[in-house]
């Protein structure tokens, strides 16, 4: 390392990180504010965290969000994995280009359009808007992300592993569950986590497709903020940030460890 701390470097880093994190730091700091006025510091307190847990509306919204996230991420993972498998395996069927384009189009589709079109669909088929419709909408939204993640893993998947399994007497179904699935499982898990995160922070599509009794946390926060930001919301957001941060840190440490262990193993193997 020959990094020199020139004035330019330091300024860039400070400005860059300030730009990224100053708003979040402010939010966290003010969540511990004693005062009811959000922008006036009145001393340290954790009372907003306590009152948060007594705010039935927020707690309900959290519970709805968690359920929508888990269910939609799980269904989207199954569907996305199947789509990825088809797109990488059966490369010669008619209309493959069209199909793969259509699977990935929602990636770049403006959320407003996705939300609106889903709303129209639900109205047309007479589905009452609520928990089910939000979940369905989130499956639609997140499935293509899962497909992208899983497909990028499948492209580098050594097909001879499957051939070897079949050669050794495993039927195609057994081969899939005993060989293919375990090998691509890390990609499926990260696809699930991505889908869950996307569902967790979606506001636009949820606003279009949700109905009474199925208010998600982002919707709840957004509607409360329109009546004025309360320190309670700050506290809720801080908890959300903490949960996400802890998740990311654990995942990256686990990844790093596995990588280091792998390198050590390989070096040991080369030595004999």
């Amino acid at each position: 390392m020959n990094a020199t701390w020139s004035r330019f470097n330091v300024t860039s880093i400070v400005l860059g990180f300030a730009f990224l994190y100053l708003p979040i730091v402010l939010l966290i700091v003010f969540s511990f504010n004693e005062s009811k006025l959000v922008t006036v510091w009145g001393g340290f307190s954790t009372k907003w965290y306590v009152s948060l847990f007594h705010n039935q509306g927020l707690m309900d919204a959290t519970w709805v969000t968690a359920r929508v996230g888990v269910i939609s991420a799980t269904v989207a993972t199954v569907l996305g994995t199947l789509a990825a498998l088809t797109l990488t395996r059966y490369t010669r069927f008619r209309g493959r280009v069209l199909f793969s384009g259509m699977v990935f189009a929602p990636l770049v589709m403006p959320e407003v359009i996705t939300g609106l079109s889903l709303l129209l669909l639900f109205v047309a088929v007479g589905l009452d808007r609520g928990f089910l419709t939000v979940t369905l909408a989130h499956i639609t939204l997140t499935m293509c992300f899962v497909a992208v993640v899983v497909q990028s893993r499948l492209v580098s998947f050594d097909r001879s592993l499957e051939e070897a399994a079949m050669d050794l007497g495993a039927t195609p179904a057994k081969t899939f569950f005993q060989i293919t699935l375990p090998v691509i499982m890390p990609a499926i898990v990260s696809g699930w986590m991505l889908a869950f995160t996307l569902s967790l922070d979606d506001l636009v599509i949820a606003s279009f497709t949700s109905g009474p009794g199925a208010t998600t946390l982002p919707m709840k926060i957004y509607s409360q903020v329109r009546l004025g930001v309360t320190p309670e919301i700050n506290a809720a957001c801080t908890i959300l940030i903490a949960v996400v941060a802890v998740g990311v840190i654990i995942a990256s440490i686990a990844n790093k460890r596995r990588e280091v262990q792998r390198q050590l193993d390989e070096r040991a193997a080369q030595r004999g």
């Binding site: 051939e163 070897a164 050669d167 050794l168 007497g169 495993a170 039927t171 195609p172 090998v183 193997a269």
Partner: protein
């Protein structure tokens, strides 16, 4: 393994008309779209044979192996294994196992689970599986690595796990796709002999695909040399080398000198050839071509003697000039330009430290060879 030599010497079912073929390719064709990978090919392999498919990449040898394993179905023709037509039988019901070029070890399983995989599919009792796995680990000398994952092994160890896994089910035929391709040269040579020992010990039929002629010559009982989806010649390593039946085979295996000429005279034993410039040579081997036919005379460099004077007893002697000399230690390679312009490659074993007949660049020299040293080729 003391009797190995004699077993292998006596083993020649292909010369026995009553021997029953074990694997039979009957007019097999395989097309991928417009590309013909295997073209109307027929081939017979016998039980317990160590058979090599040799050819450059794209010659169809791997396709042939994959059809035997069941990963590809022939477009036409049929494949018989021990009398049974393999058409329509999926890979997981065929009594053959394959060792893959990439080894294809299951990365999420330990060495012992990799080896046990095929046995579990068979529904073998657990105790028997354990016994067989232990046996296999012992066979490939990996007992202390049973609990390791594939990425914790060296290349040579992975190769042995792949081998153990593919023979664990005692298949009727073991298919090996470039089994030594990923190993370095020294390890490759050792492993060649290990594979031969293993084949004898287990009494299995081995079909190996390789592009390395030395590997095929070392290991195989018989070699099929393939080109553009067709078999050019099937013979023992010695026959392939000493008696190639085509220019392609002569070129593909080892070094060779080729002379163009016409048949001047044929007796029942010998063919007299006139070269393009009038030089005459007498040959005892090879194809029977009619008088006047255009033929090729092929001869290996080590069968040619280079001397400063014309040997008195030589039937075939041609004069030229030493063009180049390469001293390789164990032997010396001479390039002699004959007076008709043709370049001849001759190699001489350096049996003595000092040559009795030293030759140097631009010396006049004679190349001579016996009538049985080369072959006549018509294609």
């Amino acid at each position: 393994m003391k009797s190995l030599g004699s077993i292998r010497r006596d083993f020649a079912p292909w010369n026995d008309p009553s021997a029953k073929p074990y694997i039979q390719f009957d007019n097999v064709t395989k097309k991928f779209g417009d590309f013909t990978a295997v073209n109307n090919l027929s081939l017979t392999i016998f039980e317990r044979e160590f058979f090599a498919l040799l050819g450059a990449s794209g010659c169809g040898k791997s396709t042939l192996l994959r059809m035997l394993a069941g990963f590809e179905e022939p477009s036409a023709g049929r494949i018989l294994l021990d009398g049974q037509d393999l058409r329509g039988i999926p890979p997981y019901r065929r009594p053959v196992n394959m060792m893959f070029q990439s080894y294809a070890l299951f990365p999420h399983m330990t060495v012992e689970n990799n080896i046990a995989f095929g046995l579990k599919q068979e529904g073998m009792p657990k105790a028997d599986i354990e016994k067989r796995v232990a046996e296999m680990l012992k066979l490939v000398k990996l007992e202390q690595f049973a609990k390791r994952k594939p990425h914790q092994l060296s290349g040579g160890q992975r190769q042995r796990v792949a081998l153990a896994r593919s023979v664990a089910k005692r298949p009727k035929v073991l298919l090996l796709d470039e089994p030594l391709g990923a190993l370095d040269k020294k390890l490759r040579e050792e492993t060649q002999f290990e594979l031969m020992d293993l084949q004898q010990e287990l009494g299995l039929t081995f079909v190996v695909v390789t592009h390395d002629q030395e590997e095929a010559m070392t290991m195989a009982d018989r070699i099929a040399i393939m080109d553009k989806g067709e078999v050019m010649q099937v013979a023992t390593p010695a026959e392939v080398y000493e008696a190639p039946t085509s220019r392609f085979v002569a070129h593909f295996v080892g070094n060779v000198n080729m002379f163009e000429g016409k048949v001047a005279e044929r007796t029942d034993k010998t063919t007299r050839i006139t070269g393009t410039t009038g030089a005459q040579i007498v040959v005892e081997n090879g194809a029977a071509a009619a008088t006047g036919a255009d033929i090729i005379f092929a001869i290996r460099p080590e069968k040619i003697r280079v001397s400063s004077k014309k040997p008195a007893d030589a039937l075939n002697a041609l004069e030229g000039e030493v063009y180049d000399i390469a001293y390789l230690g164990d032997m010396t390679v001479y390039h002699v330009r004959l007076d008709d312009g043709q370049l001849v490659r001759a190699s001489a074993l350096n049996a003595a430290r000092v040559s009795e007949d030293p030759l140097t660049w631009n010396d006049r020299a004679w190349v001579s060879f016996r009538p049985d040293a080369g072959v006549v080729l018509t294609r």
